[in-house]
């Protein structure tokens, strides 16, 4: 009886490959570490908060983000003179609630940021894997494209493209992804080149693994931590880029609520209604700050070498303190 049970339990474990347990443990130790690093914790809280706000937008928003009453036009924030508690952060030129629009704006921010990182990350990583592993002509063609594209800042080209095609969420995502894949390709290629010479990769090849298996099973896992950090960092950059495009009128179009668009519409009332540009801009800045802080924590926490350095520094510090 007992052996049967044990076999069944082992089968269950094998079915899951032991991975959920490992992942849970890794997650817990990461959370423990985050608790010790308050700056990184702040970053994580911002990101988690952002996702929650985006998902719960209909519940959280006190008003309809696109419908306003002209009677409530340009109300200042609640604490300012003439403000009312109904509109916590005031209203815009069409009488729409700023807070509700900011809350709904998180959806666009997340959608654009997430899609661009996913698209550009996937394509860039694949290009980097091919360039690094195949080498030769593949490498020189891909890297020449990367170099040429990196040498020219994307904003102006993005403007040209968006001036010709109709600006929309989809076209913004496409343009930003087109502009952002090169960093992933460069980094992936670098890691692949250094890992390719490792004995275990040679061993895998000698054993007879197909190139695809070598690349995906033996080389790709090395990229997990640098790619994760880069993706988070790029996420922050994309949020800023989307906001800038929307601000210039070439990104998200009205009546949709996007933070950059809100600032753009508010700038016409800069002299009379400061809250129109202040709050959406603050939302962008806080979000990007949080994502950046998370990225800088990840950079150290997800890199074994950095962890070692940090551990050594902590022990030596403890040792010197002990002697004093």
């Amino acid at each position: 009886m007992r052996t049967q049970e044990r076999v069944r339990a082992r089968r269950r474990r094998e079915l899951l490959g032991g991975r959920p347990y490992e992942m849970l443990r890794a997650l817990r130790s990461a959370l423990d570490e985050l608790w010790g690093d308050k700056v990184g914790l702040f970053g994580l809280l911002v990101v988690v908060g952002l996702v929650l706000v985006a998902v719960l937008a209909p519940v959280l928003a006190p008003h309809d983000p696109t419908a306003g009453a002209l009677g409530d036009r340009l109300r200042p924030p609640a604490w300012a003179e003439g403000g009312s508690a109904r509109f916590l952060l005031g209203t815009d030129e069409q009488g729409r609630d700023i807070l509700s629009r900011i809350i709904y704006g998180t959806r666009v921010t997340l959608l654009v940021g997430g899609s661009v990182v996913l698209l550009a990350g996937t394509f860039g990583t694949l290009a980097g894997l091919v360039a690094g592993y195949k080498g030769g002509r593949w490498d020189s063609v891909i890297m020449r494209i990367v170099d040429t594209q990196v040498a020219f800042p994307g904003l102006l080209l993005a403007l040209v493209i968006l001036a010709v095609v109709q600006p929309s969420v989809t076209s913004v995502i496409a343009v930003l992804a087109l502009n952002g894949w090169m960093v992933y390709a460069r980094m992936t290629r670098g890691v692949v080149l250094s890992v390719k010479e490792m004995p275990y990769v040679d061993a895998a090849e000698i054993v007879g693994c197909r190139p695809r298996r070598v690349v995906l099973r033996h080389i790709l896992p090395n990229l997990a931590s640098p790619l994760l950090t880069l993706a988070v960092l790029e996420f922050a950059r994309i949020i800023l880029a989307e906001a800038a495009l929307s601000f210039l009128g070439l990104g998200i179009q009205p009546p949709q609520a996007s933070w950059g668009l809100m600032v753009s519409q508010g700038k016409n009332y800069l002299f009379s209604a400061w809250w129109l540009v202040t709050f959406p801009g603050l939302a962008i800045a806080l979000t990007v700050l949080g994502v950046n802080l998370l990225a800088s924590w990840l950079r150290v926490a997800a890199d074994p070498q950095e962890r070692e350095k940090r551990f050594a520094a902590a022990t030596s510090q403890r040792a010197t303190q002990g002697t004093v």
Partner: protein
């Protein structure tokens, strides 16, 4: 040296060529230029006449060769909006963009290098914290918002400076600050981290042991080595200010430079003008890149320009 410069310039031409091809493809293939240029209510005859006049009815390869020929002669045609040669308009606006970008970049170097060095001397000290906070601001604040905040504070509230427009030196202050401040944070951070690294090197201890004054060791020995990554970033900041940030900053302050011109040409659907702007900016970017590469050699004789 000569060979190196030639190769870099050839690479640069490749960038310019790539940019112009992308612009060609985007304007001719992705969108229909006639759609963009003519009003919606134009009749089929008007469209055909217009297409014929501009040569858009010919096969794409023929158009492309024609386009390249025009490029070689630096002929971008006439602006639909201003009815003047595109080149003339762009070259008229270019100096105004430089009057923003160059002071902003000088300000960036003047502020960021001392800040970064002083921060590196005492990691964890007051100036170090200032640097870290500034660099986070540089990474996180949307530039257009920073510009608007500066207008709110200095023009609307304090009434010290004019909010918009160009012309007098007073008009320059806010746009230059908007361009420079985020860059100061990013550059100071790079100077700081590379200085910290250099100050831990053996040659610094050696120089100090020989009795060379501390200030000289920091300011000459270490700084010169730390200058290489700083130069890379400065060049990149210059390029991005020229070809990206200036569009945003000039748009916010309605400063009549190339960036604002680009936004206006988009608004007025002036495709030829936009093409001309992108080409000129691409050439500027390449020039800056080559200058930075040659400066490397001046700073670090170990770099072989081959």
């Amino acid at each position: 040296m000569g060979r190196f410069a030639a190769r870099r310039i050839a690479q640069g031409l490749l960038v310019v060529l790539g940019v112009t091809i992308v612009v060609f493809v985007v304007t001719r293939l992705v969108g229909d230029p006639v759609d963009v240029l003519l009003p919606l209510e134009a009749t089929a005859e008007q469209r055909a006449e217009f297409e014929h006049r501009l040569g858009f009815d010919r096969p794409i390869p023929v158009q492309f060769v024609d386009y390249l020929e025009d490029l070689a002669r630096l002929d971008f045609g006439e602006s639909f909006w201003q009815h003047r040669p595109v080149m003339e308009i762009v070259l008229e606006h270019l100096p105004r963009t430089f009057t923003l970008v160059i002071p902003a970049m000088l300000l960036m170097v003047v502020l960021a290098v001392p800040l970064g060095v002083l921060a590196a001397l005492r990691p964890g000290g007051f100036l170090d914290r200032v640097t870290v906070v500034l660099s986070l601001i540089g990474l996180s604040i949307p530039q257009f918002w920073l510009g608007l905040l500066l207008i709110l504070v200095f023009a609307v509230e304090l009434k010290l400076l004019p909010p918009l427009g160009g012309g007098s030196p007073k008009h320059m202050v806010l746009p230059v600050l908007t361009l420079a401040l985020p860059a100061v944070g990013r550059l100071a951070m790079i100077v700081r981290s590379s200085m910290i690294e250099e100050l831990n090197q053996q040659y610094v201890k050696m120089a100090l042991a020989k009795g060379i004054p501390y200030a000289r060791v920091v300011g000459v020995h270490a700084l010169r080595n730390a200058a290489i990554p700083a130069l890379t970033l400065s060049g990149w900041e210059f390029i991005r200010a020229l070809a990206g940030y200036s569009v945003i900053v000039e748009f916010v302050f309605q400063w009549p430079g190339v960036g604002f011109l680009a936004m206006q040409s988009i608004e007025r659907q002036d495709l030829f003008l936009l093409q001309g702007i992108v080409f000129v900016v691409a050439v500027m970017v390449v020039v800056v890149n080559v200058i930075v590469d040659i400066l490397y050699k001046a700073i670090d004789p170990r770099i072989k320009l081959a």
